[in-house]
């Protein structure tokens, strides 16, 4: 994303302030569309005066909010509620499987089949790529950081001494538990522990980003409960 020009950032702040009394999904719709509009306007503008003209053409943000409060009512026939809490629940399941799928799959399936541990994460990847909630770039991000979720850095033996006890509880009885014993690592603790923390935090951060973006984009109707906000 292009860094928003100060004029653009100021406009979006005014828009957000003007839409605080609207249902959150309406405010998010408007923010997403108007920021996309301004992003393109900024990239097409030849100079600041041109950008100012383009922003003026949008009209004041307060007018946009006012329009959202009581504009023309189109004759809705049979509304089809495609997205809503269901897609929100699905998105949640997707990121949980991406991050913890290997561990869940490992606990449940590893005693039966050696590849069992991968199935949880693979299911997460399938859900991710078949979901309309994310564009391709974010799907790649969700897939590559890290394959296997937080189990990957743990399996790579980056675990520092103080963190392994808690982890061993989760994967109790699983083959990988032997890897979790807190000794003998390639990296010295002063480097290994921060690297491990970053490696474990990365998939959790990515999961948070994916959920936030999906949440912002989600079409939800006013009659449905707004989740997670």
């Amino acid at each position: 994303m292009t860094e928003p020009h100060p004029l653009v950032a100021a406009y979006l702040r005014r828009l957000d302030a003007a839409t605080t009394d609207l249902p959150p999904e309406v405010g998010e719709d408007l923010h997403a569309d108007v920021s996309g509009h301004l992003d393109q306007a900024q990239r097409e503008a030849v100079d600041e005066a041109d950008l100012r003209t383009r922003i003026d053409r949008l009209g004041p943000p307060e007018a946009i909010a006012a329009e959202a409060r009581g504009g023309p009512q189109p004759a809705a026939t049979t509304p089809s509620r495609r997205a809503g809490p269901n897609s929100s629940r699905r998105d949640g399941l997707t990121v949980v499987l991406l991050v913890f799928g290997t561990i869940i799959g490992g606990v449940v399936l590893l005693p039966i089949a050696p590849v069992g541990a991968l199935l949880g994460w693979v299911a997460g990847v399938v859900l991710l790529w078949t979901s309309p909630s994310w564009p391709a770039g974010e799907k790649v991000l969700g897939t590559l950081v890290w394959p296997g979720g937080i189990a990957a850095p743990l399996l790579l033996g980056l675990v520092g001494g103080r963190t392994c006890t808690g982890v061993t509880d989760i994967v109790d009885g699983v083959e990988v538990a032997s890897e979790m014993t807190c000794e003998g690592f390639a990296l010295p603790p002063w480097l290994g522990i921060p690297v491990m923390i970053a490696a474990v935090a990365a998939p959790i951060l990515v999961a948070g980003v994916l959920l936030r973006r999906a949440d912002r984009r989600r079409a939800s109707s006013p009659s449905l409960p707004v989740t997670s906000r």
Binding site: D33, A68, A76
Partner: protein
């Protein structure tokens, strides 16, 4: 800035006229294919010169979406962030057809009245 000069009154009158028709103009544009917001706004204000303030089209799109008449999907763009594309749903197509059936006799009636000056 003008203050309630004839231009300002004209603007208010146009807003009133557009109110009922604009949502269906959006549906009509989307009937030919999907567009993202910036494109759609460009088409409405430049190509068709419906003279509306660009920003007010976005609340309209949001409402059409919540009413199930359009749906959206995010798509990567070659330059810049992902774009949200709007496309017509079946319900939107039905609403557009219903509007066409109502609009044409309405337009003809108003035209006829304006041309003849109405019954004296």
């Amino acid at each position: 800035m003008r203050h309630m000069e004839p231009g300002e009154e004209r603007e208010q009158r146009l807003i009133q006229l557009r109110r009922g028709a604009l949502p269906h103009c959006v549906l009509a544009i989307l009937a030919d294919g999907e567009h993202y917001g910036f494109e759609l706004v460009g088409l409405l204000t430049e190509t068709y010169d419906l003279g509306t303030s660009e920003g007010t089209i976005y609340p309209l799109l949001s409402r059409l979406r919540r009413d199930g008449l359009v749906e959206t999907s995010w798509r990567e763009s070659e330059s810049g962030p992902p774009r949200r594309y709007y496309r017509l749903t079946d319900a939107g197509r039905r609403a557009l057809e219903a509007f066409k059936d109502d609009w044409r006799p309405f337009r003809d009636a108003v035209d006829a009245l304006l041309d003849t000056g109405g019954p004296r």
